[in-house]
């Protein structure tokens, strides 16, 4: 049974991609066959960190031009994980992004159906964990990813706007789609030792990651959970991984 996680947030810049990439590497390093899919079709990021080795993008799969496995690049050897780490890239070409923005609801309906089929495809390939990195807020692509997931990991920042919007998303999207959720407090500016909160809006808070400049600077060239397992950020990622596994 493949566990499918959607990494989502109500606002942009909360650190979804950093958490998605590190979490994927954490699962793969623990021997789990993992698949990380860049569903942020409007602002692709995965291709800035890794090099695709196939001709097909996730965009092609969502348009019905290929199978999901045709879009996958196995980075197990490049990164040195014990489990397979399959990456599916979103096309960074600006023409493709412009084209995507003009897609109608029928294309989006087809994309959701494709994602559900892709989920079955990955289950047949015995993938243990699939991580869908999404675009923020209520965009078709991100809500499609949420609908296709088994669990939503909400990456949260301590701002009023983020609080208000997250509560709305939980009540107006995740709950309606009957999804299990969990919150990660990221880039927290207060004293993490003072935190007692275990639940917010009826959703468990998995961990609180303090705001640290070196996470942003070092993440440009390395995957911290792999290169520096003793770093506080890496330890937080491992905590998230363990808690997600314990919730299954």
């Amino acid at each position: 049974m493949t566990l499918t996680l959607a990494i989502h947030s109500s606002k942009g810049g909360t650190g979804k991609t950093s958490i998605a990439v590190n979490l994927a590497v954490a699962f793969a390093s623990a021997g789990k066959d993992t698949c990380l899919i860049d569903m942020d079709l409007r602002g692709p990021s995965l291709c800035s960190m890794f090099k695709p080795k196939t001709h097909f993008w996730i965009n092609d799969f969502l348009s019905g031009k290929c199978n999901l496995k045709d879009t996958l690049t196995d980075s197990k050897k490049d990164i040195g994980t014990s489990g397979h780490l399959y990456l599916s890239f979103s096309n960074p070409d600006i023409g493709e992004i412009r084209d995507l923005v003009s897609k109608d609801r029928n294309w989006q309906a087809g994309a959701l159906k494709a994602l559900m089929n892709g989920k079955r495809e990955l289950a047949e390939e015995n993938i243990d964990v699939t991580i869908l990195d999404t675009s923020p807020g209520v965009e078709y692509e991100s809500i499609n990813a949420v609908a296709a997931s088994d669990m939503v990991i909400i990456v949260h920042n301590d701002t009023k706007a983020c609080h208000d919007c997250t509560e709305q998303l939980i009540k107006g999207v995740y709950t309606l789609l009957d999804k299990r959720c969990a919150i990660i407090d990221n880039m927290y500016h207060g004293n993490c030792l003072d935190i007692k909160e275990k639940n917010r809006y009826g959703v468990p808070v998995l961990t609180t990651i303090p705001c640290m400049c070196d996470i942003a600077t070092r993440s440009k060239n390395e995957i911290l959970v792999h290169s520096d397992p003793e770093h506080l950020f890496s330890k937080s990622i491992m905590t998230i991984k363990d808690k997600i596994e314990a919730m299954q």
Partner: protein, 119 residues
């Protein structure tokens, strides 16, 4: 006498069934040959429409998304509701053009509608 009558009823029912099957095939062929020009209105179930459905219909539609084409029985097994209740919900979704109904042999299947239809 009774058994003859019964046999006749069964034969008639078989004939009706095979006629229905032929009609369904004809209708499907007609849909497939519809030219692109005529395909002017599209009915398909996207995720935001799914969110706006009432709770009971959303659960049914989400289940159909998860398990793929299925009978009312198969949907009811997942949702833990009565088959007749799911059949009613699925038919409501068919009337709303979100779900398509088709026959395979004697079984009636439902699937998420992603096809283009004539207005």
């Amino acid at each position: 006498m009774d058994s003859e009558l019964l046999e006749q009823v069964v034969n008639n029912l078989k004939e009706i069934n095979s006629k229905l099957d032929r009609l369904i095939v004809q209708i499907e062929c007609r849909d497939e040959t519809t030219s692109d020009k005529d395909k002017i209105a599209a009915y398909s179930l996207d995720v935001l429409t799914l969110l706006s459905l009432p709770d009971h219909l959303r659960t049914t539609a989400t289940t159909l998304f998860e398990i793929g084409p299925a009978t009312a029985d198969e949907v009811a097994n997942v949702t833990n509701k009565e088959r007749a209740v799911e059949s009613n919900y699925l038919n409501q979704l068919v009337r709303m053009n979100n779900v398509k109904k088709y026959r395979e042999g004697r079984k009636v299947y439902f699937r998420i509608n992603d096809s283009l239809k004539k207005k």
